[in-house]
Amino acid sequence: MEITFAMLLNLLKEIDFEGDITKITEETSFEEAGLDSLETMNLFLEIEEKFHITLADPQFEFIDSFGELMKFIKKNK
């Protein structure tokens, strides 16, 4: 299954993220979007469960934008 950016944004809705999803682009950082540390953990867990992927690479902890997250998912899927 091809994972798209729209699917990623949809996951934000599923975790009840209260920020403005329409303003999020691949360049947006988690902090700029208003995603706090607990919401970020929840988003990562949702990605792992929905896409059957493990987000645990040592480099993963340095990812802080939606574009980098997309790249990581595609590379490791």
Binding site: L38, M41, N42, F44
Partner: protein, 307 residues
């Protein structure tokens, strides 16, 4: 039948506000809406674990203190260096008879559920009519208040549960488990510093507990609609909310209430039980944390137990 007769507790009066203390790391809305712990209770430095237990005992209804055959203390932050066991020290402070058994149980946030099952079995096996189960894990002994992962979460408290032949609640069939592969997610490290891997603990809790509750319901031949209230270990408001959403129950049926005293480890479930205002028939309790360990069981009001 052996079960829970009544509960007493002690929460230190001294509180530290997270809204004032943590302004460097988090804003107030994150504290209120996500962590949920606006203040945590903290014991006096010279108060020992057994002192907190003694204070909880003093808050038991007076008519509950009779012919105690065993005392159990669930803690991982015992008096002194852990030897002798805290329950022996408490035995002296309570002035109990030498025929009264005393032992500690080393478990964290899952400890209350495990300890209920252990003390119930011990009492039945040895024909003991009244026993006291204490929980007290004062994390102020080990937490670094400047650690952004743990410094805002944990509060000190003690509880005592009178287990007797005159119970209000029966203890049902339990669901247990241990994810030993994740044992280092919550630990005291080689530098004697308490550490927690927040993401590992979050994933463990929100993935494991809904399944454990479903298993417990099945084992006790009940469905989720039969449960009047779910009392879960009060890890943080966000963890409780995510578990609640995964179970698809509303906030009134799965509350977070530790906002003004903190995550009190094995004391969090008995504190909620003691506070219950309504006369519920079926209650699910579930504890999870250090280990990574979990325990879930059903408490049924005695009049609602068939047979």
């Amino acid at each position: 039948m052996i079960g829970i007769e009544t509960i007493g507790s002690y929460i230190p009066a001294k509180k530290i506000s997270n809204l004032k203390e943590s302004s460097k790391n988090f804003d107030d809305s994150f504290i209120k809406n996500k962590i949920g712990i606006e203040a945590f209770a903290i014991k006096d430095e010279d108060q020992e674990t057994s002192d907190l237990c003694l204070n909880a005992y003093k808050n038991l209804p007076k008519n509950a203190m009779h012919n105690i055959g065993c005392i159990v203390v669930c803690t991982q932050n015992p008096d002194g260096y852990g030897l002798p066991h805290t329950s022996a020290i408490l035995h002296q402070k309570l002035g109990l008879d030498e025929n009264c058994a005393a032992f500690d149980i080393s478990l964290g946030c899952s400890g209350y559920v495990y300890s209920l099952s252990i003390i119930k079995s011990f009492m039945i096996e040895n024909n003991i009519r009244n026993g006291l189960l204490f929980t007290c894990d004062p994390y102020s002994k080990i937490v670094d208040r400047n650690d952004k992962n743990t410094g805002l979460l944990f509060g000190d408290a003690a509880t005592v549960t009178l287990i007797s032949e005159n119970p209000k609640w029966a203890i049902g069939i339990c669901d247990w488990g241990t994810r030993g592969a994740g044992h280092d997610a919550i630990k005291i490290n080689d530098n004697n510093v308490f550490t927690m891997n927040g993401r590992a603990v979050f994933n463990f809790a929100v993935q494991t507990i809904p399944k454990s509750i479903e298993k417990t319901l099945k084992k006790n031949n009940l469905s989720i609609d039969d449960i009047d209230i779910f009392l879960l270990h009060q890890a943080s408001k966000y963890v409780i909310e995510i578990i609640r959403k995964r179970l698809k129950v509303d906030e009134a049926h799965l509350p977070f209430k530790a906002g003004d005293y903190g995550n009190t480890v094995s004391s969090s479930i008995p504190l909620l039980l003691e506070e219950l205002e309504s006369d519920f028939n079926n209650i699910i309790i579930s504890g999870f944390g250090v280990g990574l360990s979990w325990g879930t069981t059903l408490l049924s009001k005695i009049s609602s137990v068939s047979g």
